[in-house]
Amino acid sequence: MAQRSRTQTADHIRHLLETEGEAIHAQASHSNERRDATYAATDDIEELRTEARAIKEDAIDRLPDLIETVREAVEANGGTVYVADDAADANAYVADVVETRTEENGVVGETDTPSVVKSKSMTTEEIDLNDALAAEGIDVTETDLGEWVLQVADDTPSHIVGPAMHISRAEIADLFNERFDPDEPFETAAELTQFARDHLGERITEADVGITGANFVVADSGTIALVTNEGNARKCAVTPDTHVAVAGVEKLIPTLSDLEPFVDIIAKSATGQPISQYVTMLSPPTDSPTIDFDSPDEPIVGEGTGDESDSADGTGDPDRDFHLVLLDNGRTDMREDDQLRETLYCIRCGACSNSCANFQSVGGHGFGGETYSGGIATGWEAGVHGQDSAAEFNDLCTGCTNCVDACPVKIDIPWINTVVRDRVNRSDEPEAYDFLVDGLTPDAEEGGLDPGKRFFGNIGTVAKAASATAPVSNWLADAGPIRVALERTLGIDRRRDLPTFQRESLVEWFEGRGGAEASSRRADQAAARGGGADLDREVVCYPDVYTNYVDVERGKAAVRALEALGVPVRVPDLPESGRAALSQGMIATADEQASKLYAAVAEDLDAGRDVVVIEPSDLAAMHREYERLLPEASFERLRENSYEICEYVYGLLENGADPSALSTGDGAEPIAYHSHCQQRTLALEAPTVAVLERCGYAPATADAECCGMAGSFGYKQEYYELSVDVGERLATQVEDAETVVASGTSCGDQLEALLERSVPHPIELLAPGGRRT
């Protein structure tokens, strides 16, 4: 496998951060904000997403039938359907259509070279259609302005919707001034656009064949739907007498009524527009007259067509020729693959790219494969170009889940990334450093896994050993030669502060202060003082790896806060959640850990105890990924009885507990609060904000997408600079606040490194005798 080394990856990412990051961030974050606002303003957005998802599930399920249905419909309309097995097959067919058309009717315009105009189509990018047609002596012009800029610049798309997003207006102006040498140099976007309109307008009027993609294909009427803003797709489809539409087979939907939710949602999710300028629904060949600009004095409406070619005859203008090329290229195999199938539901709106903090920093040239980019690209690239293409960029998905709420068809994009990472791990050759981590790694993975991934995936075992030997382990780990070795072998960047392991774990501290019995007494005393809730609850506080061995203080704070509100707590020594393993793509290990953890808390659940979790990513594993790892009843039982700590405190306050039992502010004490990405996806940011407000603080939430740390991601040598770039956006938002709190361990670590001060968990602020920063 010709994968880049860590240093090469770091260099590539640094280059993109410097050259393309600024332009990408400006546009992608803007589109994401608009999407967010439009979703919020759309009352039935959840119903729309659910409906769209259901239609796609059904369509992919019935795909072979739909292909036959669309073939019959298009043929009845007077067109042709060709199902292409792969890129070469599709390209050869399209070239043949162009050659046959020009041999029969001659070449339009002044030259003898057959010419094609195209509207934007990622599917034709996937098969490199332009190169294939050029090799056959066919002149191809992209008419979408973004695609045309790329064609002039000999560049590739950096975003599936805004392909030239990485090039600034000034750069386009320089490029065009050099290439086209205008009398007056181009400067404004309006000037550039006017020039493009005129230049491309000529190419369209002289073209022999128009090629479009299709956003959707309605099987039973043979209708292709094109969603655009410029109008070039309409011109490409209507002007030349021959129209070729190239679409992946997954674009098929059964009926016209199935199109409605997609028309309603695709522009909302892509750019935040309520609907796009042009939703072109053509059942070609259409009745629109062909336009021969070679004969400017001929009426475009043929003689007598007004009567004869009655629009209801169903076969369209007799001069028109239409070909629908349906591309397989791996999609049938994806449909058979239980994990990759969901990728086929994708409507290519780019919402996963726009909502992704890493994407906003590097764009699709970093977070993308041969053709596709953004979170869903891992599924597409693995399916159509193979796992190697996906392996190049798959690690850029940190599993933050920001894309989960953005995706209009509710694809679990982080899971697809986890699955492909797991498969990539398993396909690699064993490496020389395996011996280093073998002793630390009681995992269920086969050899060949990257040692760094194996190290982070087994962080619980590492942490346990380090805690047992602290503080010596901390001194050793900070020593210069050790940092060099850690970087070379495990890829841990030496610029990153390592966690400081505590000699006394949370579980040991809890036992040392008298365990469950003492906790029960403390809770009773608090209740007797009148601070308690009107609830008879008991809590198992989950000692996640970081809380147990590194950030023990927030664990103690959680225990104290719960007791002060009258709730007795237990802190048993529980297995890892599997979150660390999942983030490294070690699904078998995570699966085992999920089972062990469930078994370990089953009795507590049966006894009616609530599981309270401090680290949001561990709670997210229980609430999201466990659905795939545990039997349904076990998953539901744990999900229904597990809570984020501040969510739980909120519930206690709502049920009569007295906030004054906690450390309260003066009513208006400003603090900056950064929630955690996965916590936001679970809709658990609001309870923390509410608790802080109830307790006399005035929290302001940061709207930056992510802290950039994402567990192990920011430790990795190749991603350190990207992690800091993403983190700086958050740090800038919160740096003026006197107090900054964050729910995630790694969010707090990143902010502490960037702000150079302490960033505690909100519960540390709230706990009796709470700590101030």
Binding site: Q27, T223, E230, S276, V279, M281, P284
Partner: protein, 168 residues
């Protein structure tokens, strides 16, 4: 109900910087004449008592189409919610006439303005059943941000006007 729907349509069009004018069928021709910039091309208007003004060329040549500043077409229906007009691909050239010139003047009967996208899809389905199975939902002006800033009128019309026939 209809009045509210047209009001909603008008507000949506305002947000898209598209003008809306309500006229009676009897006054339509004169009003269209005032709006169009010549040279103008058009597709015949199928509304009773409404005809295109003399300055609008029907059955245009390719040359007429290329030179035209304004294209006038009927639209099958309109969706108030989004300010959308449904341009049908008819044999008289409504699709290219609405697309090539800088300005599109869309003429719609008030009774064909439907409240929302669902109602629009019902109308669309009725049309499909009757063989009118190629339709463009056009909403506002052609636009692009690909050259680094939002610009209107890139390939399609940069100006759009809608005429609602109050008594049709």
């Amino acid at each position: 109900m209809t009045v509210d729907t047209v009001g909603r349509f008008e507000r949506a069009l305002e947000g898209l910087e598209v003008g809306l004018e309500r006229v009676s069928a009897a006054d339509a021709s004169e009003r269209i004449e005032r709006i169009v910039e010549e040279p103008a091309v058009g597709a015949p208007l199928p509304f009773e008592g409404v005809s295109l003004p003399a300055g609008v060329t029907t059955e245009p040549t390719a040359g007429d189409l290329e030179a035209a500043r304004t294209g006038v077409t009927p639209v099958g229906f309109a969706v108030a919610e989004y300010g959308t007009v449904a341009v049908e691909s008819t044999a008289d050239g409504a699709e290219p006439i609405s697309l090539y010139p800088d300005r599109h003047v869309a003429v719609v009967a008030e009774s064909d303005v439907v409240p929302d996208l669902s109602a629009g899809f019902e109308r669309l389905a009725e049309g499909f059943d009757a063989g009118r199975d190629s339709v463009v939902f056009a909403t506002g002006r052609s636009a692009t941000a690909d050259m680094g800033d939002l610009v209107h009128g890139v390939h399609g019309p940069g100006d759009v006007d809608v005429i609602v026939l109050e008594d049709r």
